[in-house]
């Protein structure tokens, strides 16, 4: 079960929401063998990795880093990263039990990237795209000023160069440690998407596990096409917040990709091994 991420967007005043536990972010422990949370069987790590980080037995989709995503989706060696040097400044001097400054340093070390998203131009089966991949390892993939700025710059470049935009979301929501500034990144990215949309741009939003909170409530739900990985958790409020609010058990499969498909908020569930060809086909259909 995925419990270790957050939504910051939704807690009513009196109820605590779930949020980032940055120390628990890697799904897969080290070792030759590992336990699959999907089927509870011991599987061979190498086999899992060869199958694009999915379980060879039950096809459980393991969470992957932004770098792995970029390598998996793009044609080999074609990714030209943008704005890799942008870093957060901790403008609020946010300090709770741990300082945000320390959290940032740790996250940079663990994830090997400067903040929670990779953006750049790449090719998918020979088609040029502007690719954005969020990284859950970096403070639960939360969106602060750097993530918002990098994505907005990506959108603006896609608008200028008439590139199809592909965003793979994997994020707990807005970044609490940047207060209202992180909230404003939702408006900023949505506004940039508005311009891209007006200019006739194609935006394909891919929802990976998990996509929640302010990420869902901004660009992730604004795709011309919205695809989700199987069983990905997608929602606004966290399930615990909801359960506490309504004082009832949540329905089976609530907030999973299949649930959203049934409710009409996702176009299609696309397994990881079909994603590249699906994206390429979409781009062709839209004449981009």
């Amino acid at each position: 079960m995925i419990q270790n991420f957050t939504t910051t967007m939704t807690a009513p005043a009196s109820r605590p929401a779930r949020f980032v536990r940055p120390h628990r972010h890697v799904d897969v422990p080290e070792g030759l063998w590992l336990n699959c949370p999907g089927c509870n069987q011991i599987i061979y790590r190498k086999q899992m990795e060869e199958r694009l980080h999915t379980c060879p037995l039950c096809r459980h989709h393991f969470r992957i880093s932004a770098r792995q995503r970029v390598n998996m989706l793009g044609d080999p060696g074609t990714f030209e990263e943008m704005d890799a040097d942008l870093i957060a400044t901790d403008i609020l001097a946010f300090h709770a039990r741990k300082s945000y400054h320390e959290q940032l340093q740790e996250a940079r070390k663990t994830s090997q990237i400067n903040d929670g998203v990779l953006t750049g131009r790449t090719f998918i089966k020979g088609r040029a795209v502007l690719l954005v991949a969020m990284d859950f390892q970096f403070l639960a993939g939360s969106m602060g000023a750097v993530v918002g700025e990098k994505i907005t710059r990506g959108m603006e470049r896609a608008t200028r160069e008439n590139l199809p935009l592909v965003i793979v979301s994997c994020s707990g929501g807005a970044r609490m440690q940047e207060g209202a500034i992180s909230l404003m990144q939702m408006a900023k990215t949505a506004a940039a998407l508005g311009r891209f949309h007006r200019a006739g741009g194609l935006f394909i939003s891919v929802l990976a596990d998990p996509t929640t909170g302010g990420t869902t409530a901004s660009f992730a739900m604004l795709g011309d096409f919205i695809f989700a990985e199987p069983k990905a958790m997608v929602g606004f409020a966290g399930p615990r917040t909801i359960a506490n609010t309504i004082k009832m058990e949540l329905p089976e499969g609530f907030q999973r990709a299949e649930f959203l498909l049934k409710k009409g908020f996702v176009d299609r569930i696309v397994p990881r091994d079909e994603l590249r060809s699906t994206l390429a086909r979409c781009i062709d259909y839209c004449g981009k």
Partner: protein, 379 residues
């Protein structure tokens, strides 16, 4: 619709306290009647006293840090009663005490902590969207429904005039008495609330009416129906569409600005915040729950989140802070309403003078700058 702020009508504090204490019991009265507990004095008195000294009438039960103020107010009232009863002139004592009261209120409200500010923003007597409509919107005609699923009472929309400007008003409504609070979900809107607001805003843009948005919500409603009907999608679409509405959009946080639920009505040309309102990515309790595993540290969280009006102005998140009357909007709703009215009038005059393409460009650039001080190029 019954007037909520009736000129010349007084509400003795004892009645206010009894009704509050009775909670749901107030349901015996017609719902609208209960709203009239909000004003603390005849409007004419408030209007005047807002500029000089606070009203001597206690407001509800008060917040913890208000107790010394309320105590002093009771003393003044007792003295006035005594004066009338015994026919003794306590004029000079009363004047003296009123002076002390004014000083105490000023001192208290000049040094509110972030957490105390949150308490003021949630004060049960603080004016809400429907109160502002009552006080500053002329000929308000409410428009209901999202034409998709339902009418969400947590969001109020309709046409009217503010300071002579024909406008479309959208705003959260938290509800004042228990019955209305439950109807309005405590101001926590469902997707249909955001869709209703967007529909009315697009109507406004079509016919060149500016939009005024009053923000006051703890957050969007976290429930099964809300998720099933796409609360995230509803908010996301509002962000995108509000950023492109071809008409002036002025937003004011009048009480609580609870994260995405607030932002869903909060994208526009200008964002102002009332002096004792708050706006944040997460509620202090929510933040405390995450960082300290319980809501006990909400005060620390409120401090860390920098959610007060002055900090938000420094951060460039809001364009302007609207000063509240001495002692907060709940002590002088009319004074607060007049300040909001003046702000809207002044802002709309400026925005209406701009050609639409210029307006939209400035709106985009305003959003585009958000967060630029919070990042840097490494190296």
């Amino acid at each position: 619709m019954a007037k909520r702020f009736i000129h010349g009508k007084t509400n003795p504090s004892s009645t206010v306290r009894r009704r509050r204490g009775a909670g749901v019991g107030a349901g015996a009265k017609p719902e609208r009647m209960n709203r009239s507990i909000a004003p603390t004095a005849p409007a004419a008195v408030v209007r005047e006293s807002a500029k000089v000294a606070p009203s001597a009438r206690p407001v509800g039960m008060g917040l913890a840090f208000e107790q010394p103020i309320l105590k002093l107010e009771r003393q003044i009232n007792e003295l006035i009663a005594l004066q009338e009863q015994k026919g003794i002139d306590y004029g000079s004592e009363i004047t003296q005490l009123r002076g002390n009261l004014a000083a105490l209120v000023k001192k208290t409200y000049d040094h509110l902590s972030a957490w105390e500010t949150v308490q003021v923003a949630r004060h049960p007597a603080r004016p809400q969207t429907r109160d502002y409509i009552e006080m500053i919107v002329k000929d308000f005609e409410e428009l209901h429904g999202d034409r998709r699923f339902a009418d969400d009472p947590a969001v109020v929309t309709g046409t009217g005039r503010i300071a002579g400007h024909k406008i479309m008003l959208v705003g959260h409504q938290k509800g004042r008495d228990t019955k209305e609070k439950i109807t309005c979900n405590f101001g926590c809107a469902h997707p249909e609330g955001y869709r209703k607001a967007l529909l009315k805003m697009q109507l406004a843009a079509k016919f060149g009416l500016p939009v005024v948005s009053l923000i006051d919500t703890p957050g969007a409603y976290p429930g099964v129906g809300s998720e099933e009907r796409g609360i995230a999608e509803a908010i996301a679409v509002n962000l995108r569409e509000m950023s492109q509405l071809a008409t002036p959009v002025v937003c004011v946080v009048i009480g609580e600005g609870g994260s995405g639920g607030a932002l869903g009505l909060g994208v526009g040309d200008r964002l102002a915040i009332m002096q004792f309102a708050w706006y944040s990515v997460i509620s202090p309790e929510g933040c405390s729950g995450i960082l300290w595993k319980g809501s006990e540290n909400a005060a620390d969280a409120a401090e860390a989140l920098k959610l007060t009006s002055s900090r938000l102005e420094q951060l460039g998140v809001v364009d302007e802070v609207i000063s509240e009357p001495l002692g907060g909007a709940h002590r002088h709703p009319r004074g607060a309403a007049e300040a909001v009215e003046r702000y809207i009038d002044r802002t709309l005059r400026r925005l209406k003078a701009l050609p639409i393409p210029e307006l939209l460009e400035q709106r985009y650039q305003r959003l585009r700058r958000q967060g630029e001080a919070a990042l840097q190029e490494q190296g």
